[in-house]
């Protein structure tokens, strides 16, 4: 006897992708926050020289500014979809979940364009 299950999932729904991106961005942020706390904590404790050289190195580099935009995108997506989830948690929006998603994403796009407008001049 060979047992077998169909492991196919449903990929053509908004909720599937909303959930998957929420998870991916959440896990990326876990990685970031641990790194960030270690780095900021030790730099603050080591005093002015270390702190200034670490932040000067990071914030002075173009790569950092670009990675920063990725970080902002992750936080923005996770936070906005987080609002959607919190709405379900207080019992709102079950029959409007897709519309809520797109409204939040539109808001996110506006905020993101605003951030780009602030940061891009620093990169170029």
């Amino acid at each position: 006897m060979y047992t077998f299950k169909n492991r196919s999932q449903v990929w053509d729904t908004v909720g599937m992708w909303a959930w998957l991106f929420h998870r991916v961005t959440g896990l990326a942020l876990v990685f970031y926050i641990i790194l960030h706390i270690v780095l900021m904590g030790t730099s603050l404790l080591r005093g002015p020289e270390t702190f200034n050289s670490v932040l000067g190195f990071l914030m002075g580099s173009t790569l950092f500014l670009i990675l920063d935009l990725l970080l902002a995108a992750a936080v923005l997506y996770h936070g906005l979809n987080g609002i959607r989830i919190l709405l379900f948690d207080i019992g709102i929006g079950f029959n409007r979940q897709k519309e809520i998603f797109w409204v939040l994403m539109a808001a996110g796009l506006v905020i993101y364009l605003f951030l780009l407008w602030r940061v891009l001049p620093e990169i170029f």
């Binding site: 959440g26 706390i37 603050l44 404790l45 002015p48």
Partner: protein, 107 residues
């Protein structure tokens, strides 16, 4: 056995993270994206009650939310083990102590 509580705290921390992380992001980077942060500014900020509170909350809530989120994902994959929970708790406690110590040295 703590499932209900951790679920509730995941929501409470999520709610505050929107506000606190928003402030953190804005003040430290996007308000003035060209500026390179220096120690003196950080020290001056952390001497004010507002920023000490914002940073401490960010540390505590961010860590709980992140590590509990990770724990949730593991449970979703049917990974349920006391030792993993213990490791996450230790990592969280360690980072929290180090972080809070670094923030509060300016008081």
């Amino acid at each position: 056995m703590l499932s209900g509580w951790t679920w509730l705290f995941q929501r409470i921390t999520a709610f505050f993270l929107i506000l606190v992380l928003g402030v953190h992001f804005w003040v430290l980077h996007y308000q003035n994206p060209g500026e390179i942060l220096v120690y003196a500014d950080a020290a001056r900020r952390l001497q004010t009650a507002l920023f000490l509170t914002v940073d401490s909350l960010l540390l505590a809530f961010g860590l709980f939310h992140a590590l509990n989120g990770l724990h949730n994902v593991l449970e979703d994959f049917n990974v349920r083990s006391r030792s993993i929970t213990a490791v996450l708790l230790l990592v969280g406690a360690g980072l929290f102590i180090m972080g809070i110590y670094s923030l509060w040295q300016f008081v």
